[in-house]
């Protein structure tokens, strides 16, 4: 059922990678060794809400530090899968394992809405992300570091209400990252942003992922975002993984390149052909 489609690495791409960004290639190949991320194994995962079976048996292995994008039509179960991974819903059947015991701080979620506390200043909002450590003596320093990483160090004493949508989402990212999570689950985090802000947020996401090496799982309806960011794109149809597409393009990726556009087209055609069948 899965692994239906796998793109091979074109000759030209290999050459381009070697010339264009050798350091990126090294970083990419060393990542599995240095990664702080956790691997993820999902077996026979099922979930129903009432009579509606949303996930009908998901089997999936995600290596540590991989960036996986999950795409699919609305209601296909992609958000439910993410919420199960993040532990926000209970599992009906099957299992999700991270290969070891995980602390709550190891897995963080980012939503489409920033979900900042309006009555807490930006820095305090980031400190929320430290979980049980938020009262520790280095909480301020860690939160400031996370804010600096997302480029908002100068907004530390502002109220969230004065920030723009993109800035709020960056604060939410800082909050998710401040505990140095090993898995970051992203539920359409850029869905509510305008096109330009979205592109700069994508770059930021890719940068922090490369810096920190967590395992990233991104649910999105934007196929071009998926191929721009992910190592691997999963297409979910009717509660099952219908396609598992590997994206081998070198990083940093050039948006709108022929290779990415081709991949995007093939994934889109899968999504649309499923649409025609129903």
């Amino acid at each position: 059922m899965q692994t239906a489609l796998r793109t091979s690495l074109p000759e030209t791409e290999l050459a381009g990678r070697a010339n264009f960004a050798p350091q990126a290639r090294i970083a990419r190949e060393e990542r599995p060794v240095q990664t702080s991320g956790l691997p993820l194994s999902i077996r026979g995962l099922r979930k129903s809400f009432g009579d509606n079976e949303v996930l009908r048996g998901i089997d999936l292995h995600i290596p540590a530090g991989q960036f996986v994008a999950i795409v699919g039509k609305s209601g296909c179960g992609k958000s439910t899968l993410l919420r199960l991974i993040a532990g926000l819903e209970t599992i009906d059947a099957g299992s999700i394992s991270f290969g070891q015991d995980v602390q709550p701080e190891d897995i963080r979620v980012m939503f489409q809405e920033p979900r900042l506390l309006p009555w807490a200043r930006v820095l305090d909002n980031v400190e929320v992300g430290l979980g049980r450590d938020h009262a520790s003596s280095d909480a301020h320093a860690r939160a400031e570091k996370a804010l600096t990483e997302v480029g908002l160090a100068d907004k530390r004493d502002q109220w969230p209400s004065v920030l723009s949508g993109g800035q709020k989402q960056r604060v939410a990212l800082a909050r998710a990252l401040v505990s140095r999570p090993r898995v970051l689950a992203l539920d359409e985090p850029l869905g509510a942003l305008d096109a330009l802000t979205r592109i700069s947020m994508q770059r930021l996401l890719e940068r922090v992922w490369r810096d920190q090496g967590f395992t990233a799982i991104l649910v999105t309806h934007d196929v071009s975002e998926a191929v721009a960011l992910a190592d691997r794109v999963l297409v979910i149809e009717e509660g099952r993984i219908a396609h598992d597409v590997t994206v081998n393009a070198a990083r940093p990726r050039e948006r709108g390149s022929a290779e990415l556009a081709g991949l995007e087209g093939s994934i889109l055609s899968h999504l649309l052909s499923a649409d025609d069948r129903t």
Binding site: L88, P104, L117, P118, A120, V128, R132, W159, S161, V162
Partner: protein, 268 residues
């Protein structure tokens, strides 16, 4: 362009100091007209004494210490009743907002009691407590209870569930979740309740003191009526107005301090 300039010009002339004074123009004007009407005999002084007479009466009562004592008694009754009723209302609001069981158990009963005008209980309260302090405190507490209960409950129920989910994800304990998410989220609504309650507090106290008391502002007014001291009657009414305004201002200051995060309270 010139039109826009001329329209926006007065704004730049307006000093912040003047802004605060604008609200006093109407009351001062009323007093001035009133004084003129009394002095010229347009309004007979046995209907309404001149403001100057009211001030004089106030000065006399102030010297005798009667005024301060009565204001103090009324103030104590108001604040103790407010604290008791508000405290219980807040506690019920919290309990019913946070616990389904508690809400099922008590909410419909409270809603039923709410529809009884609390002042209708005065005859019963006098039978129970006589005319001593507890009667007044009971009535004030009962009157204050409902606005605070209802608004606390509403505030807690309308806290953004996404924020609560966020708090849980980030490992907040129940206590922390309440302190950092639920309570601050409910606070604007709680303040609405407090301001309603302050109005009801004065209303209840006036009525209770007028009907059954041996001290306090309402009693002072009723005594004055017995002796046809109309200036003292008017004085007590004015003092009620001032105290009410004072309580409202105090709650506004508190609101401004605790809700400084709210866009509505941010300095522009």
């Amino acid at each position: 362009m010139s039109l826009i300039d001329s329209v926006s010009l007065p704004r730049s002339f307006r000093l912040p100091r003047v802004d605060g004074l604008i609200q006093w123009i109407v009351p001062l004007a009323i007093i001035a007209i009133w004084q003129v009407a009394s002095v010229t005999g347009f309004v007979p002084t046995r209907v309404l004494p001149a403001p100057s007479d009211v001030v004089l009466a106030g000065w006399k009562l102030l010297l005798s210490g009667e005024l301060v004592r009565n204001i103090w008694v009324s103030f104590l009754r108001a604040s103790i009743g407010f604290l008791i009723g508000g405290g219980i209302g807040f506690a019920f609001g919290l309990a019913n907002g946070l616990s389904q069981l508690s809400a099922k158990l008590t909410d419909s009963t409270l809603q039923m009691v709410r529809n009884v005008p609390h002042l209708a209980l005065i005859p019963l309260v006098i039978l129970w407590f006589g005319i001593d302090e507890s009667a007044k405190l009971f009535l004030v507490a009962l009157g204050v209870f409902f606005p605070i209960y209802l608004n606390t409950l509403h505030g807690i129920r309308t806290v953004d569930p996404q924020l609560i989910e966020m708090g849980r994800i980030y490992g907040m304990s129940d206590g922390e979740l309440f302190r950092r998410v639920i309570f601050p989220g409910a606070l604007p609504s709680i303040f609405v309740g407090i301001r309603f309650a302050l109005g009801i507090m004065w209303l209840t106290l006036i009525v209770a003191e007028t009907i059954a008391a041996s001290s306090g502002l309402g009693y002072m007014a009723m005594q004055a009526r017995e002796f046809m001291l109309i200036d003292v009657v008017v004085l007590s009414i004015l003092i009620y107005a001032l105290l009410g305004k004072l309580a409202d201002s105090a709650s506004r200051v508190l609101e401004r301090l605790t809700l400084s995060w709210h866009p509505a309270f941010q300095k522009r």
